[in-house]
Symmetry: D2
Subunit: 460 residues, 4 copies
C-alpha cells in the first residue's frame, strides 16, 4: 500500500509550502519536491489544491440513548459522513448512566465503534459518578488509552455530577494527568426554569432558550473555573456558546486556571431565531447550550482568530425531525438535543472563516485539527503533516462551490440545519492512514478500518 | 554550499519528529529519514538534540542614540551575540527624532545594518510624527519592504505621538495593511511623576518604578485599544510587563480589537527588587516599563502557555554600567534604559519555561520564533522548518549546563542582569541560510552576510 | 416673613414622617406636629402631599456662548423654569475660552446670575487651561466660594485641557481640597471621527452618535480614573451616559479612586433613535455624549437604585430648534448641543422612578438633591429638611397628572424633547429660603432674589 | 416617662445640626432649638456631643448551638454589651437544623430573646430546607413579622441548602417580598479542602484560611448572583470579606441584580496573620469567611465610603477560648467560629473610619445604622432621628479615649480580638425607646424591655 500526493500546497497550523507527500503503509514517509523513482499504488494530483492534515472533531455523539430513543448515526454512517466532510478523527463522548459501571460503559462504547468505523476514533470518558469503585475503573480506562474525562454540570439526575464528585473527578484527573472536559450549565437552574416555563404553558421549542439563558452557562463556567483553580488541574469547556461564558473562562485563565475553550460551528453561523421557527421547525435547531443571539457571532470569530478560543467542534448528535424531535411537541424539554454537523463543519468553517477573511489558513487548521490533537494527546500522530505522522490527509479544493442539503448529505438524519447554505470548498480526496476514504463527496473507504486511538496523559 | 543535519529531533510550533535536514544554498531542500547519496559540504550530527527553527527576536534596539550617548552594540556585536544565543533574525526599532525625515531614518538605520550584520534583520518603522510629508515617506518605506509601524505613547517630545497622530498612523496602517506595534505608557503621567519624585529628592534608580507604575502602562494599553477599535486596525503591544496591562489588552480583544501581546524575558525572571539594589547597582536593571512585582511572574508565564500572550522578546538595549548608566546618578530619569538580553533570551526561556515545566516545546518555539514570523510577515520563510524555508536552524543541546556571566557573554556591554543564573540548554550549532554561524557558544559566522528581510503587509 | 407648611409628609433621603414645618426668615426654625400659637404670614396646607427638600441640579448651562450664538435662557427664564419644576438650586458651568482669565470669567458668569436669578446658584469653575497665572486665579476663586472644578477631556482647542494640564488641575484640586468634575470623552477621537463622517457625506444629526460612540466616552472615563488614581484627588464624572462608561468608573472606584458618577434624565428616558428622527428633527436631541441605545436604560436605573450612580442632573443647554439647531443642517458638528430639561427633570424622574417602582422615595431625594449637596459642599444648608437649613421646600402633589409640552413650558426654547410625555406628579408649592416662588406650575418668585452660594472645599 | 436631650449635634445619614430632642413615652415627639416649658423626667446635656440614631447590627448570633456546645452570650449579656457599645437593635440569625420545623425554630429563638433582651431585636429566618411544609411555615413566619431570609451556601449537611432549595427559597422570597441574606461560600469545596488539609496534617488554626480561600467565597457570591438574576429577587451578601467577593457582587449589580453588600468590622481591622498566632492563639480569630490579607483593608474602606458596600456588621458569635475554641486543638474544623465584636463595632468603626478620615459622619451613620434599617424594613422607626421614630438615641463623646480589653468588656466571653486597641469615642448615653439603657460604659437598662420588631416585606 503506497500513496503519492503530488504537488499540493501543504498547509498546517504552522507551514505552507508546495511538495509531494509519499505514504507507505499508514504513515507519511517522505515529503519532498518532485519525488521520483517511486512506484506508488495510488497517485493523486493535488496541483492547485491545499493539502491539510486530517481534521479532528473533538466532540461528537454517535451512540447516544436519549429518553427511550437514540441518536440515528451508527459508526458506519457517522464515519462516512465525517470522512466525506474532511474529518478523519473524532472523539466521541461516552455517557454512561449513573448506575452503569464505567469500565463496562467504556467497553460498550468501544464495541459500538470498533470494527465499524471507517475513520479513527477515541473517547472522552464521561464521569457521571465518582466513588471508589468508579475511580478504580477510571484508572483502568486511562491505562487502556483514554486521557480525557467529561463531566456534566448539567443533566442532574442523569449524567450530572455533584460538587463533591466534581472535586473528586478533578483531583483524580490531576493525579492521572488527564484533562477534564466539561459541559458547563447549572443543572438546577435549568430544571427550575423548565418547570416554570412549562407551568406557564410555554412548551414550544422557542422556550428552550429561556430554560438555559447565557447566565446559566456562565454560572457553569465560573463554577468549573473555581474547582479547577482549587485542584490545579487542566480543563476544557465544551460547546462554549456566548460572550458571557467565554469571559468567565478567560477570567479563570487570568487567575491561573489552565483552561481551553471549545466552540461549535453552529454557534458561529446559526442563532436564536433559528430555534424559533414556526410549526415546530425550530425543534431542528434545539441543542444545549441553545443557539444564542447573533451578536455573539463576531465575538466568537474574533476569539478563534486571536487564540482565545482553542477549538472548533460540532457536538454532533443526530436525531430525526419527524420521528424523534417531534417527541418534544407540547414539551420542549422532551426534544432530543442536537444539530447534526459532523459532515459540514470543515466546509462551513473554511467558507465563512478563511474565504470570508475572518481567520487565516494556519489558524483554520489549528482550531479545526491541530489544537485538538495537542490538547487530547493525539499530537503529532494526528493534526500534523510530518514524517511518521499518520497519513490522514485532506486534499482540499477551494474552488468548489456547492450547497448543503439534507437531500444529499450522508449523515443519517432527515434534515440539515444549514440547508441551502453555500460552501466554497470541499475535500477532494481524504485519506485515512494512507488509504483514500473519500473522493469528491463520495465515500470510498472501508468500514471497520478505523482504529481506536490510544492516548497518553497530557500532564500539564 | 550544502549542509546536512543528521538525525535531530525536529521541533517546531507544530511538529516533533526525527529526521535529517538537507539544505542546498540557503534553503531547506529536503527533510527525510536517513538522507543518502548526498555529498554535503558540511554534515552535523544532531542525534539526541533538538532542531528548532531559528529564533526571532521581534523587539531589539541596536543603533540607539540616547541623551548624547548611544547603545553599545553594533550590528557586528549584536548579531554575533544573537547567533550564539540561537536568535537568527531580529527586528530592530527605527527611532527617528521628530524632526528627522522617516525615509532618511530608514536609510540611516538600514545602512547601519547592511553589510555588517551576521544574521538577518528587518525593522519596525518608528512613527514619531505623522503629517502628509511623513505619510508619503511611510508609503515608500512599506513599498521597500517594511510592514510594521512602531508608535510610542511614552517619550513625549522625543518619540511620542499625539493622539491626532496616533489616529492618523493607525488609519494609515489600516490602509497599507501593516501592523502597528506600540509602546504603551502615558507620556504626561510619566513626566509629571518624574518631576514630582525628583522634587522630593527621590533620585535613585529605585524610584524609576514609581515614575511608571502599572496604572501608567495600563492606561497606555487601554488608550491603544480604543484607538485600534475606532480605526479597525491590528496592533501589537510591545514589552507588556504586568497583569494590569495584559488585562486591558485582553479586554480590548474581547471588544473585537485585533491585538497581539508581547512580553519580555526580563519580566519573567527579574523583578522590581532588582532595580532597587544599593550602590546604584539597580541602574543596571532600569528599563521601561520597569521591572514589576514578582507576583506578575506566574501571570505572564500562564499567559504565554495559554496563548493569551503571543510573543517573547527582549527589547535589547545595551548601555554600559560604568560609562553610561552612571550618567543617571543623582537623576534616575537620565539613566539609559535597557537590560541587554539578546544573547540569553532563548536559553533562559528554555530553561525556565520548558525545563521547569511551565510551557511545552511547541509553545516554546511558537512564542520565541513562529508567532513573530506570522505576525510580522516573515512566515513561512522564517519560523518554520519546511521545504523552501530559509535554512535558519538551531541544533539545541538540552543537556548543556552553563552559567550566565558578563565575563563570557558576547554582547558589547559590561554587565549582565542575569549574572550567575544557570541555564539548562544551549545552541550547539546555529545556521543562517544554510551556513553555520555559531557553534558551542562561539561565533563562526560572517559579518555582512545578514540580509534585510523584505516583508509584505499582513492585511488582517 | 414667616411660612408654615402644615401636615405634609416630609420625605428626605433619610426620613419620612408627617409634621408641620415653620420657617422664619430664610431658614427652617421648627419642625413639629401641629405647631400652634404661631401667626405665620403664609400658611400652606400640605395634607396628603409630600414635602421634599428643594431639588438641586448640579449640572446646567445658562450663559453659554457657542459658535457665535448662545444658549437661549437667561438667569431669569432659567431660574423661573427651574423653580416651577421643583429645582431650587443649580450649579452652572463656567466655561471660559482658553485665552480668558479665569477670574474674569468667574466674575462675568457671576454677574450674569447675580441680581437676576430667582433661585440660588453656584458654579463649577471650568479649568480650560492650567498655567501659573491661571492657578493663581483658581486659588482666588476657591477663596471666593467655589469648591469644584470642571475639566473637559473633549472639545480640544476650545475648552479641552491637555494631559499635562489635567494632571496639574487635579494636583491643584487635591491641594485646595476641591472636587474636579469632568466631561469624559476623548477629544482627538471625536475630531477624527467627525472629519471621517463628514468626508463620507454623513452630515445629518443621526451621525452625531457615530462621532462619539460609547468607546470614546469610556476611554475618557478610564483616562480620568488613571489621573485621579495617580494624584489621589476626588472626581466626578458628569453626564455618564452608558454601561461602558459607568463600568470604567466603577473599576476605578475598585482601584481606590474616589469617584462619583452623574447621569442625566435624558439618558434614562430618551435614546439614540430620538436623534435619528427625519427632517432634521433629530437635531433637537443632539447632545454630548449622545443619547445611547435603549438597552442602557435599565442599567442606569439600576445604578441609581443601588447607589452605584450618585446623582441625576440635566446638563441643561437650551438652543432653539429653528434659529439655532438648524445652524447644523448639512454639518452635524455645527448643531448646538443640548436637550433642555431643567424644568422637567424632577417630574419625569418622579414619574418614571418612584411611580413606576424603579427607585424608592428616599433614593429619589438623595439622587436628585441630597447627594449633590453633599458632594459639592452645600450640605446641610441645602438638600436636607432640618432645623437651620435653608427653607427650600417642595410641596409635591403625587396625584397631579399632566403632559409636557413646549407650548406650556417656561424654558426659553422652542421645543421640548419630552413633548407629549405624561407626568404623574408636580410641585404644588416651591419655596426659596422661606418665600413661595412657584405654585401650581406658575412662577411667583422674585428675580434677583437668588443668592450665590459660597461653598467650602470638601477635602475628601 | 419623658426624656430631654439638650443641645447635642444631631447627626444622621443625612442631617447635621444642633437641637434638643424631646421624647415622650417611647418616641421622639419634638426636635427643636431650646425646648422650653417642659418638665422632663430625665434631662441629658449633650452639649459638644454627637447625637446619633441608635446603631443597628444586622448580623449577630446569640443562641447558637455548635458541635455540642453553644455560643456564650445570652440575650441578657449580649443586649447589655450591645447597648453599652451604642447598638440599640440587632438582627439575630435563626439557624434551625434541617430536621427542625421552621416555625418551631422561630418560636424557640423568639422565646430565648423575649423577656430577656434589654434592646430591641428581630431575626433573619434561616432557611435550612425548603419543601412544601417548610414553605408553609415561612409564610406564617413572614405574617408574624419577619421579612428576611438567611440561606447558607456553606455548611453542607448542617444549615446549607441545595441549589434546588436555593432557587425555591428565592422564588418564595420574591413572592412574599422578603429579602434573602446569604452566607456565600461553596460548601463542597470547603469540605474537600478541609479533608485535604487534615490529611496532610495541617490541623492548626492557621490552616482554616486555606480551607476557605477567597475563591471559595467569590464562587459563592457568583452563584448567588446568578440565582438572584434568574429569580429577580433582592439579596444581601453577609460578611463579605475580600475584594474577590465584592467584585462578583458588583458585577452582579451591573447585570441588574438587586444586591446589597455587608462587610464586618473584623475584616476592616484584623487580618490573616491574626489567625496565625502561635500556641493556638490564632483560634481566637477563626471565623468564616476567614480573616483575609491586609491588602483588602483599603479596598473595603473605600467600598464603604463610596456606597459600594452597604452595611457594617459583626457576625457576633462568642465562644470562650479556653473551654470552647480549644475543642479545635488538633483539628481546626472543630474550632467554634466567631470573633465577638458586638460591643466594640461602633467605637472601632468611629475611630478608624471617622477619626482617621476614611469616611464622613453621614456615611458612618448610614452604614452602621440607617442602611440596615432601610434594607430590612425597620425604617423610619429605626435608623432615623425624626418625629415619631423610636427614641433610640446615642449621645456620643468623640473626645473619649479608651482601650479595648476582655478584662473590662461586657460580652460573656474570655477574650477580645481587639485587645489593646485604642478607641477615640464612646457612647456616653444610650437610650432604648426613651429610656436610658447605658451610660459611660455601664449598663443601666432593663432586661426584658427589648421588643421583638415586626417588619413588613420590602418588596423591591
Amino acid at each position: 500500500m503506497s500513496l503519492l500526493i503530488r504537488n499540493g500546497e501543504i498547509v498546517t497550523a504552522n507551514e505552507q509550502y508546495v511538495a509531494d507527500i509519499y505514504c507507505e503503509g499508514e504513515t507519511i514517509t517522505r515529503i519532498d519536491r518532485c519525488i521520483g523513482g517511486i512506484d506508488a499504488a495510488e497517485v493523486i494530483d493535488a496541483t492547485g489544491k491545499y493539502v491539510f492534515p486530517g481534521f479532528i472533531d473533538p466532540h461528537v455523539h454517535i451512540y447516544l440513548p436519549f429518553m427511550g430513543t437514540a441518536a440515528k448515526d451508527t459508526h458506519e454512517t457517522a464515519s462516512r459522513a465525517a470522512l466525506v466532510g474532511g474529518t478523519t478523527t473524532f472523539i466521541e463522548m461516552i455517557c454512561p448512566a449513573r448506575h452503569e459501571k464505567p469500565l463496562e460503559a467504556f467497553e460498550l462504547w468501544l464495541g459500538k465503534a470498533q470494527g465499524k468505523s471507517a475513520c479513527d476514533f477515541t473517547f472522552h470518558m464521561g464521569v457521571t459518578r465518582c466513588d471508589d469503585e468508579a475511580e478504580h475503573d477510571f484508572e483502568e480506562i486511562v491505562r487502556r488509552g483514554l486521557s480525557s474525562f467529561k463531566v456534566f454540570l448539567a443533566y442532574k439526575g442523569a449524567f450530572g455530577v455533584t460538587d463533591e464528585e466534581l472535586y473528586k473527578t478533578l483531583q483524580l484527573a490531576k493525579r492521572l494527568g488527564v484533562i477534564t472536559t466539561a459541559h458547563c450549565e447549572n443543572a438546577d437552574l435549568i430544571l427550575e426554569l423548565q418547570k416554570k416555563l412549562l407551568a406557564e404553558g410555554k412548551t414550544g421549542p422557542e422556550y428552550h432558550y429561556w430554560s438555559r439563558p447565557p447566565a446559566v452557562e456562565a454560572e457553569g463556567v465560573h463554577h468549573l473555573m473555581t474547582f479547577a483553580e482549587m485542584t490545579g488541574t487542566h480543563v476544557y469547556t465544551v460547546h462554549t456558546s456566548c460572550e458571557e461564558s467565554v469571559r468567565e473562562a478567560l477570567l479563570g485563565a487570568q487567575r491561573g486556571v489552565n483552561v481551553w475553550i471549545e466552540t461549535l460551528i453552529q454557534y458561529l453561523l446559526l442563532d436564536r431565531t433559528d430555534a424559533e421557527k414556526p410549526n415546530f421547525e425550530g425543534a431542528k435547531n434545539v441543542m444545549s447550550p441553545p443557539l444564542r443571539d447573533k451578536k455573539n457571532h463576531p465575538f466568537l470569530w474574533n476569539g478563534l482568530r486571536q487564540g482565545l478560543i482553542a477549538t472548533l467542534a460540532t457536538d454532533h448528535a443526530p436525531f430525526d425531525f419527524d420521528a424523534q424531535k417531534r417527541m418534544g411537541e407540547g414539551d420542549f424539554t422532551r426534544i432530543p438535543n442536537g444539530i447534526p454537523s459532523l459532515e459540514n463543519r470543515v466546509d462551513l468553517y473554511f467558507t465563512h472563516g478563511v474565504k470570508h477573511g475572518r481567520i487565516d489558513l494556519q489558524r483554520f487548521v489549528e482550531t479545526a485539527s491541530t489544537a485538538a490533537a495537542k490538547i487530547f494527546g493525539l499530537f503529532p500522530r494526528k493534526g500534523a503533516i510530518q514524517l511518521g505522522s499518520d497519513a490522514d490527509l485532506v486534499v482540499y479544493d477551494s474552488n468548489y462551490r456547492g450547497t448543503i442539503s439534507a437531500r444529499t448529505h450522508l449523515m443519517n438524519v432527515d434534515y440539515n440545519s444549514f440547508e441551502g447554505m453555500q460552501v466554497e470548498g470541499r475535500a477532494e480526496v481524504v485519506t485515512v492512514r494512507g488509504k483514500v476514504a473519500a473522493r469528491d463527496g463520495h465515500f470510498t473507504g472501508a468500514f471497520g478500518r478505523g482504529q481506536f486511538l490510544r492516548r497518553e496523559p497530557t500532564h500539564f
